[in-house]
């Protein structure tokens, strides 16, 4: 009987530190946390017809910009983005990806504001989700081998765009 009590006591000692269940939340992050990850690509429509995807630009450095016509910071950033696209045309591809709108709305905006770089329309917002966008605009630099180099939340100046793509151009 005494031995039984000793064994029982030894088995019960750890019950003092038992855990209570709880539910933890999910992952958070943002585009900055994606550096080094493979860049996800989805086939979506272009505003000038046909389909296109980030994967089609493999082998070139890409500055992907997630934006929307209704978004004031995107509107403010667009001239700088257009200037950067023209000045770095031989080295960097600027790819604008409209989030959640119709092709006609994005086309109207591009024509009205003289945007010349390719604009894709992601009406299911797949790029926005995959790149953990915290808001618009969100920019992602993708290396020649298809990996995320840098993710930036919010609008950038031309100088900031140059600094962001510099590591990918080395």
């Amino acid at each position: 009987m005494r031995r039984l009590l000793v064994v029982l006591g030894l088995l019960l000692v750890p019950t003092a530190c038992y855990n209570t269940p709880d539910a933890a939340g999910a992952a958070s992050g943002g585009p900055g946390g994606l550096a080094g990850a493979p860049a996800q690509s989805f086939a979506v429509r272009r505003i000038d017809g046909g389909t296109d995807a980030l994967a089609n630009y493999r082998g070139r450095v890409v500055l992907m910009n997630l934006w929307a016509t209704w978004c004031p910071p995107c509107q403010e950033e667009m001239p700088a983005l257009e200037r950067f696209a023209r000045e770095e045309a031989g080295k960097v591809v600027v790819l604008g990806i409209d989030q959640g709108e119709s092709a006609s709305a994005a086309r109207r905006y591009a024509l009205a504001h003289g945007v010349t770089f390719p604009i894709l329309v992601d009406d299911r917002q797949e790029y926005g989700r995959a790149y953990a966008a915290l808001g618009l605009p969100t920019s992602v630099v993708v290396s020649r081998d298809g990996r995320v180099v840098k993710g930036v939340d919010g609008p950038m100046t031309v100088a900031q765009m140059r600094a962001a793509v510099a590591p990918a151009l080395k």
Partner: protein, 338 residues
């Protein structure tokens, strides 16, 4: 004999309680003191027989039985250890189309992209990828064992929301308060009490029109409880409550799954259904379970072999045999006297 039976029953129950963590993972019960106490008592009763029997105090048949029951006790101890010391069950709610790293398991969970039809149909699987290892897919009706953890899916309410302007132009849907700002998939992480019903709640915005919309998720049973007519009893629906940027209410609409409704100057369509949450629960360590299974099988095999071999005769039986009429007449004595 009675000690053997009670030890066998207790060891079997202990092993069954441990294995339940693999078959029905994630129950809060496993981390409760009642579960630990039950296992401790069962193991105590079993071990009070197993330890002396292993030393031969229950005769020859006791040793193989002690080996087999020792295996069951080892499995039970594994269950006790994981219940007491293992991490609590963790829910990982990934947005469709995103990758969520799980450093504790050394894997990344790939939550599949989902269309409105996919959400309405439910039943999505989640893929787990580890560098240098084959992909493992966790399906809604299956578990994946990852060492000292079991991974499984739990379906939770979800809705894929699409918004259009008056001319049919598509509008961006955002979730300013969620981790996935640009996801049109609502995962209903909050709840709101309405009468006696606890209803899942989520919020989305349509920034182009300056609209904020609260969405309440009603199951078919909830709809039936509220007595809403004209709805298919088999499909869930959303109750949408729209406001402008300043919080001024602009209308309420019931949006059955797949049906377009007009609200606050826009057209909204929602695929209402489910999307999985990945749950990670602790489980008995395979470093204990595999040896436990080996001990049990070895004990059963040993007992089987021992029962086929005739029991060696005792000295008293041998001396009786030597003087038996069979021996005297040259009959076959079973055991020779030495």
């Amino acid at each position: 004999m009675r000690a053997r039976a009670s030890a066998a029953v207790c060891a079997a129950f202990a092993a069954a309680l441990a294995l339940a963590q693999l078959l029905q993972p994630g129950l809060p019960l496993y981390h409760g003191w009642q579960y630990a106490l039950a296992l401790a008592l069962l193991l105590t009763v079993a071990l009070t027989y197993v330890v002396p029997a292993a030393r031969g105090r229950d005769g020859r048949p006791g040793r193989p039985l002690a080996l087999a029951l020792g295996g069951l006790c080892l499995a039970g101890a594994g269950g006790l250890a994981s219940g007491l010391l293992g991490p609590d069950t963790t829910a990982i709610a990934g947005t469709p189309g995103t990758v969520v790293p799980i450093p504790a398991l050394g894997v990344a969970a790939f939550f599949p992209a989902a269309s409105a039809a996919d959400v309405a149909a439910g039943g999505a699987s989640v893929a787990l990828r580890r560098r240098g290892a084959p992909e493992r897919v966790v399906s809604p009706d299956g578990n994946a064992d990852l060492g000292e953890s079991v991974v499984f899916l739990r379906q939770r309410p979800a809705a894929f929301v699409e918004a259009y302007d008056g001319r049919g132009g598509r509008l961006t849907v955002t979730q300013p308060a969620a981790t996935a700002f640009l996801s049109p998939v609502l995962l209903f992480r909050e709840r709101q009490r309405i009468g006696s019903v606890d209803v899942p709640l989520d919020t989305f915005a349509v920034p182009a029109l300056h609209r904020v919309v609260h969405a309440l998720y009603f199951t078919p049973a909830d709809l039936a409880a509220f007595g809403h007519a004209g709805l298919a009893a088999s499909s869930p629906a959303l109750v949408l409550s729209a406001a402008d940027d300043a919080g001024r209410p602009l209308g309420i609409a019931l949006a059955p799954s797949g049906r377009t409704v007009d609200i606050a100057g826009m057209r909204v369509r929602a695929g209402v259904g489910t999307y999985p949450v990945l749950e990670v629960a602790s489980a008995p360590s395979p470093w204990l379970l595999y040896p436990a299974a080996l001990l049990f099988v070895a004990g059963v095999a040993w007992a089987g072999l021992a029962s086929r071999r005739p029991e060696p005769a005792t000295v008293a039986e041998q001396s009786r045999t030597a003087t038996s009429p069979d021996a005297a007449t040259g009959g076959t004595a079973s055991v020779p006297t030495t």
